[in-house]
Every structure is written in structure tokens, then in C-alpha cells.
């Protein structure tokens, strides 16, 4: 799958953007040239050699704060995606196999969760569970899990009703074996698409919440928080919101591109797409030796 995604330019671009963001999240706090919380008398200054992106309203280095803030933002979005995955996928598969009672029950729960506006609900839950990104992201993760539930269920249904699975059942295969052998391979690609997309959604949510001042306590930097505080000083630094906004956009865009790339290359249609591209490349590049039997790939 990874190799197929990388075969597409969009896939390479998406992976490239997301790798840079991931590196920022891992190394950002150590790369920061200044203490992200260290105030100084130089407030709201423009970019300079010492402060690449200027300083904020308390004289803190904005570049360092962006770097230090990347971890919270990225971890938050990954948390949303993983919680949604864990909460959604297993009931999604089981809903097909565990009988009508379980199916009806989980479907109604999924409907209920879909009906709740997750951003507002996350705000409410932080009031109950305490003001923290993990609490807020846990809530959002649970609330977006119906996406995974439905995607998994749809894929599983298609497999479960297919003739070869019925044949396997008649031959005495266990449900567990079928799930591992047949269901998993069919379910994985749509789940991967949903996962990449949810990372993007989670990123928007975590940025929105930190923009609203929820989930993080000052002075901890986050991209959304930086964006929000920059808006208060537009007459001094009109360019300041651009950098955090670009970072947020790039991350979400990267996640969506990745989701697109995975969708394009998965399943029979994906294989066909890759083959046609390969064929076209060969036509345009007749000098290149034709691989024998295609085994090289």
C-alpha cells in the first residue's frame, strides 16, 4: 500500500508535507532557538535575524512558539484519529456478525453520535472533565467514530455477503479466520482513507479549540492559540496570522491529499489506475527498457 501511494505524485507530496509536520512535532521543541515562554521587553517586533518571525505581545519569540506548539496540535489530531479508529472499527465489523440485536443497538448509537455537533460537545465536555486537549480530543474522537463504524460496516457487509466467503463458511471456516483472511484486506483500504481524512478533521478541531482557548492553558503555545492572539494585534503585525494559518492549512491539506491518494490506489480501480499510468509512462518513454514480466515492481 505504502509503495503504491508513493507511486503517485499526490501521494509523495502528501507524505512529504506530513513528514515535515511530524518532524516538527518530534523535534520542534528542541529545535526552538529561544525559550518559547521566555518574555522580553521587545514586544510585537517584526522579523529579524534574532527573531525570525518577530515577537508576540509579551516579547516571546514567535518562531520558537510555533515550533513548540506543533507537538500539542499534531498529537491532538492523531489522538482524535486513533480513538475514532478504535471506537468505530471493531463494532463496525462485529455489527455484521453478532446478530440483529447488536446491529440495531450499534446503529442507533452511531446515529446518536452523528447527531451531536462535536465541536460544541467538546467544549461542554472540557467543562466537565477539565480543560485539557486529551479530554477534548477523546470526546471528538468518540463523536467522529461513526465514520469508521459505517465505513467498516459497509466494507464488511460487501465481503460477508460475497459468494467466496459463503463458500468458505460452508467449507467450515471460522468467523475469525474469515475476518483475518478475507474481511481485513477489504476493510483496510477504506479505513486507511477514513483515517487520513480524520487526521485532517482532527487537526481542524484541535486548532479551532485552541483558537477558542479551550484545552490549553496559557502560556502553552499552540498553532490555534497563536492565531487567536495574533488577531488581537493586527494593527501592529498584520502579517502575523499568516504563518500559523499556513501551517494549519498545509497539514490539513496534506492529510486530505493522503486520503485521496490512498483512495486512488486502493482496490481494483486503484490497481487499474496504477497500471494505466505505468503503461502511459512506457509509451511516453520508449527508450526505457520494458521490465520483463513486470516482476521488478
Amino acid at each position: 500500500m505504502v509503495r503504491r501511494v508513493l507511486a503517485l505524485p499526490t501521494g509523495r507530496l502528501a507524505v512529504g508535507v506530513l513528514s515535515v509536520i511530524a518532524l516538527l512535532a518530534i523535534l520542534g521543541p528542541t529545535l526552538a532557538p529561544h525559550n518559547p515562554l521566555g518574555t522580553s521587553a521587545l514586544t510585537l517586533t517584526g522579523p529579524s535575524w534574532k527573531h525570525w518571525l518577530g515577537t508576540d505581545y509579551l516579547g516571546r519569540d514567535v518562531f520558537s512558539r510555533l515550533l513548540a506548539g506543533s507537538r500539542t496540535s499534531v498529537l491532538g489530531s492523531v489522538e482524535v484519529a486513533l480513538i475514532a479508529l478504535a471506537v468505530g472499527v471493531v463494532p463496525g465489523i462485529l455489527s455484521v456478525y453478532l446478530g440483529r440485536g447488536f446491529e440495531w443497538f450499534t446503529l442507533r448509537i452511531a446515529d446518536t453520535l452523528l447527531a451531536l455537533p462535536f465541536l460544541i460537545y467538546a467544549v461542554a465536555v472540557t467543562a466537565l472533565l477539565g480543560n485539557g486537549i486529551p479530554q477534548a480530543m477523546f470526546t471528538v474522537g468518540v463523536l467522529v467514530s461513526p465514520l469508521f463504524y459505517r465505513v467498516t460496516r459497509a466494507a464488511t457487509l460487501a465481503v460477508a455477503r460475497s459468494q467466496y466467503v459463503e463458500a468458505a463458511l460452508i467449507s467450515g471456516a471460522s468467523i475469525g479466520w474469515i475476518a483475518r483472511r478475507h474481511v481485513w484486506g477489504k476493510v483496510l483500504p477504506p479505513v486507511a482513507v477514513a483515517l487520513a481524512q480524520t487526521i485532517g478533521v482532527g487537526f481542524v478541531v484541535v486548532s479551532s479549540l485552541s483558537f477558542l482557548g479551550i484545552g490549553v492553558q496559557p502560556p502553552a503555545p499552540t498553532w490555534g492559540g497563536l492565531l487567536a492572539s495574533d488577531l488581537g494585534y493586527l494593527s501592529y503585525q498584520p502579517w502575523a496570522p499568516i504563518v500559523p494559518a499556513l501551517l494549519i492549512m498545509a497539514t490539513v491539506w496534506g492529510s486530505n491529499l493522503l486520503a485521496d491518494a490512498i483512495r486512488d490506489v486502493s482496490g481494483e480501480a486503484g490497481r487499474a489506475l496504477l497500471n494505466s499510468r505505468r503503461a502511459r509512462a512506457r509509451r511516453l518513454n520508449p527508450a526505457e527498457p520494458i521490465p520483463a514480466g513486470g516482476a521488478a515492481r
Binding site: L37, G38, T39, A41, T43, Y57, L58, G59, V123, A127, N131, F211, L212, G213, I214, Q217, P218, P219, A228, L231, G232, Y233, L234, S235, Y236
Partner: protein
């Protein structure tokens, strides 16, 4: 007391911002619809000329419209639209007649008689008489949810003498009463409407310059000029539309596009407002921000730790980073230059982080050993400054934003917090609010600094025009400043922006008075 927002910095939180933008949009639509009907009202009202509308965006939109419940915080400026009081203040901060034409003390100084103007009515037609004033004072003293009773401890009882004379009997000699019973503390509601305080809280009925025609709680209030106000000839504004201000960064664009023509302004927005061609001005006032400490809780039960915080606080940094050239440092509950400001205490506890560290060391406290929560009502850069200044002397502070901040703060359950005042007309009231045993700004109740009570009693006994009044008052400030419960930081400005078509406002300190103000084209 939950609604007592005393400071401009006590602004709406950011998720209010989203709501605020929606409100602004709604206001835009409403004002578009409203302009037609406004013109109609003017035509009906007669008098020729165009109808003028004040479109005011305020960060202090009242949560309560019963003045007894609202308390004497900054929203009194808005409640002063529908309500009048016995007195108001002039540009020097002296009490001048409002509903009361004049007043007189008895020779002992423990009884004051207010003489009301004749033939006045509340907007519901009830007469403004002695009984109505007595009702207002009694309600402020005894209503269950009154936020004012603590300010009225000098008042023993009220009686009426004839229809228009109100006699206020005092528990002690107190020459502050005319200042006290002004717009901050005793806005007078119609006794008929006040018979149901819960209803009054939603439908204000007073004898002020304007009458409420529509009130959407927490969002918007529409008022029209009150033709029966005693000074109606000097009110030149026909209509008022007041909305709760959205996020501070959107106020200027609202003013620029004409959604509002008057708004209070965060200092950070002053530059943008000026660039937009708006009239940016500072109304004189008594603002002072503080760090509130609770000496009934560790670690502030150790006087050395309190002193360390005092020496660790650098007022100038607050001024430099928060007020954009409009504020000034203060170590007292009012700005320097005010009559109660004590010049002899100007250098009490100067910024000296080395001394702060030394004091902590003497107390046997290692750097980083003290870990505190700084609980505040809304995101505020001042909290980050306090955090960094205390961190510099080895006190670790975690900022906690608590939307229900008012409850633990006024229950005196917090250890460390931030608050501030927009002042009181009576300097004695400012002092007792901060240093008195039950002062709303005293986080360490029932603590009171030694000698403060006696010093305050002496001020009350001194007539305001006595030559030694400033000295006596400043001595009381000096006694109050011994309080270990408060570290004062800076005085933020009463900053406003208005459309240039609105004429200058009377410079009554800490008030917003529309008398004589005109709105041109």
C-alpha cells in the same frame, strides 16, 4: 456579585468571539431594519430635525438590570441610561444634584436629608417621591440577592419627611453619603416595578434619561429618550442601541463600518481605531488592577512569601505590555494623582527580585518549591506576566481559566487571582471594598490591616470640603496598603472610540454621561 466585572481587561472570552461575530451580523441586519422605524419615531416625536441614534458596543453588557443585584461594578454606566440616582458627579468627582435637588446634614453629621425635585415620575408613571427612595435604599440593604448591602453599612434607617424629603439616619458620622448614593450605588427603580425584583431584573423601570423599549438579555438593549427626565432638555440623543461587544479585535471594524458609533476599546486596538479615522479618547477614571492573595491559605499565610510577591512584581512591565502607552503603574487601588492616592506610599515595595528571592530563602523555601494555581475569569495576558515575574523569583504558577471564577472568588476560596476596580465615587468605598473585612476585592476576608478601621472612621467624620480631608484620606490609604491581600499593579485607561459625529462627552471621572452630547451627521 457574580456580575461585577470591574475592568476593561475582563473581556469576553474567545468562544464568545464566535457568538459575538454572529451578534454583530445580527446587529447589522437589525440596524438596517431599524433605521426606517427610527426615522418614523422621530417624525412622530416631532421637534423637527433628524432622529439621532447612539449605537454603542460595550464589553460590560449588564447581566442584571436590577441595580440592587448588579452591584457597583463597571456596568453601572449602562444602567445609568434607564436609571437616575439621588446624586451624580461632576468633572471634579464631586456630588451634584440628580433626582435630589439638594441635601443637608444635621449638625452632628449623623443624619442627612435629601430634597427631591418635584413632579418627577418613573417611566411607568409612578411618582419619584421620598417613599420611592426609601424603598430603593431598603431594598439595597435587605433584598436577598443585593450586591450593595456591604456598601451601606453606614446607613441605619431611612425615613420620609413629607412627600419629597428623604431622611437617612446613619450609624456613624459619615460625610461620604452624597457621593455614595450616586449612580454607582443607588440607582433608583420604580417601587411599583421593584415589587417584583425578578421582573425588574428583566425590565428596568427608572427615572433616567432613557427608557428601555426592548431588552434581549445578554445581547442587546434598545432605549429611547425619556421626555420626563428632569434634565431632558440637555439630552440630545433620541435613541440608543446598545449591544454586547464582540471580540475586541472586531470592534474597530464595527465602528468603521457604522454598525456602532461608540465603543469601549482595548488599548491594543487604539492604533487601528485611530488609523480608521475614529475619535479615540480616554475618559478620566480610577482604574487599578491587582494581584489578589489569600493570606488564609498557604503559602501566603507566611508574611515573607507575601512580601516576596510584592517585591517580585514589576508594575512597569504591565504598563509597557498591556496598555500601549495609555496606562501607568500604581501601587494603590487608584491611579496616582487621585485625591486618595498617598504620595508617601509611592515607593512602598519597589520592584526588587533579588530581595524577593532573599525573602523566600529566609522563609526556608527553595526555588520551585511553591506551586500555585492562578485562577482567572478569562484569558488575560496580565496573568502570563504575573506568571513570568513570579517564575523569575522561583514561584511556579499555573494559569487556570475558570468560567465560573466569580463563585470561588467572592466565596474567598481562591489562593491567588487577578482582579481590578473601575473605582467608586466615594474614595472611602474604594478603600473599604479593597481592604475592609468584607470588601468584595479582599480575597482574604475577614482579614483587615491593623488601624484601617479607625483610619476609615476618621475619614467618614471629615467633611469633604475640610482642609485636612486629603491628608486624612491619604492616611487611611496608607493604613489600607499594609494589607497583605493585595498587590496593585497598574492603572488601565478608560479608553473609548467614537465616530467623529458624536460630540465630546463630559469628562466626569469613571462615568459615561450623555448630558449635552450631540450626534451630528
Amino acid at each position: 456579585m457574580t456580575s461585577a466585572r470591574h475592568l476593561p481587561s475582563a473581556r469576553r472570552t474567545r468562544h464568545g468571539a464566535v457568538l459575538g461575530v454572529l451578534v454583530a451580523l445580527a446587529a447589522l441586519v437589525l440596524s438596517a431594519c431599524g433605521s426606517g422605524s427610527g426615522a418614523g419615531t422621530a417624525a412622530a416625536g416631532g421637534g423637527g430635525g433628524k432622529s439621532t441614534t447612539l449605537k454603542w458596543a460595550s464589553s460590560f453588557f449588564p447581566t442584571h438590570w436590577d441595580p440592587v443585584v448588579g452591584g457597583s461594578g463597571a456596568q453601572f454606566r449602562i444602567l445609568a441610561l434607564p436609571y437616575a440616582a439621588l446624586t451624580k458627579t461632576d468633572a471634579k468627582g464631586n456630588a451634584v444634584p440628580d433626582l435630589a435637588e439638594s441635601w443637608s446634614y444635621n449638625s452632628a453629621g449623623d443624619e442627612v436629608t435629601f430634597h427631591l425635585r418635584p413632579k418627577l415620575t418613573f417611566s411607568d408613571g409612578t411618582p419619584v417621591n421620598a417613599a420611592a427612595v426609601k424603598n430603593a435604599i431598603d431594598r439595597a440593604k435587605s433584598q436577598k440577592n443585593s450586591a450593595l448591602f456591604g456598601d451601606l453599612t453606614s446607613i441605619k434607617s431611612v425615613s420620609t419627611a413629607g412627600d419629597l424629603d428623604v431622611v437617612v439616619h446613619l450609624t456613624q458620622v459619615d460625610h461620604q453619603i452624597p457621593l455614595l448614593l450616586g449612580e454607582r450605588v443607588l440607582q433608583i427603580a420604580s417601587p411599583k416595578a421593584a415589587a417584583d425584583p425578578a421582573k425588574l431584573d428583566q425590565n428596568p423601570v427608572g427615572a433616567g434619561p432613557f427608557v428601555v423599549t426592548q431588552l434581549i438579555p445578554g445581547t442587546k438593549v434598545v432605549l429611547k429618550k425619556n421626555p420626563n427626565y428632569w434634565d431632558a432638555k440637555n439630552i440630545h440623543i433620541d435613541n440608543v442601541q446598545l449591544v454586547s461587544a464582540p471580540d475586541k479585535s472586531t470592534v474597530v471594524s464595527g465602528l468603521q463600518t457604522g454598525v456602532y458609533n461608540f465603543a469601549d476599546l482595548a488599548p491594543s486596538q487604539a492604533k487601528a481605531a485611530k488609523a480608521a479615522g475614529l475619535d479615540v479618547f480616554v475618559q478620566p477614571g480610577f482604574n487599578a488592577s491587582n494581584i489578589s492573595l489569600n493570606i488564609n491559605k498557604a503559602p501566603f499565610n507566611n508574611p515573607k512569601v507575601v512580601d516576596a510577591v510584592r517585591y517580585a512584581t514589576n508594575s512597569q512591565e504591565f504598563v509597557d505590555k498591556l496598555t500601549f502607552g495609555y496606562g501607568k503603574p500604581t501601587n494603590q487601588p487608584f491611579p496616582s494623582g487621585y485625591v486618595a492616592y498617598d504620595p508617601k506610599s509611592a515607593n512602598l515595595y519597589p520592584y526588587d527580585p533579588a530581595k524577593a528571592k532573599q525573602l523566600l530563602e529566609q522563609a526556608g523555601i527553595k526555588p520551585g518549591q511553591i506551586k500555585l494555581d492562578l485562577v482567572i475569569m478569562a484569558d488575560d495576558p496580565a496573568a502570563e506576566i504575573v506568571q513570568s515575574q513570579l517564575a523569575a523569583v522561583g514561584i511556579t504558577v499555573t494559569i487556570k481559566i475558570d468560567k465560573t471564577w466569580a463563585t470561588p472568588f467572592f466565596a474567598k476560596d481562591l489562593t491567588l487571582s487577578l482582579y481590578g476596580t473601575t473605582g467608586r465615587d466615594s474614595a472611602v468605598q474604594t478603600l473599604t471594598a479593597h481592604f475592609g473585612p468584607n470588601g468584595p476585592l479582599n480575597l482574604s476576608s475577614p482579614y483587615e490591616p491593623d488601624g484601617f478601621e479607625a483610619a476609615i472612621a476618621k475619614v467618614r467624620q471629615t467633611p469633604l470640603d475640610a482642609p485636612d480631608y486629603p491628608q486624612v484620606l491619604q492616611a487611611a490609604t496608607r493604613a489600607g496598603l499594609q494589607s497583605k491581600a493585595l498587590v496593585f499593579t497598574y492603572s488601565s485607561p478608560n479608553l473609548f472610540a467614537k465616530n467623529k459625529s458624536i460630540s465630546a462627552l463630559p469628562a466626569n471621572p469613571a462615568h459615561i454621561d450623555w448630558t449635552g452630547v450631540t450626534i451630528g451627521d
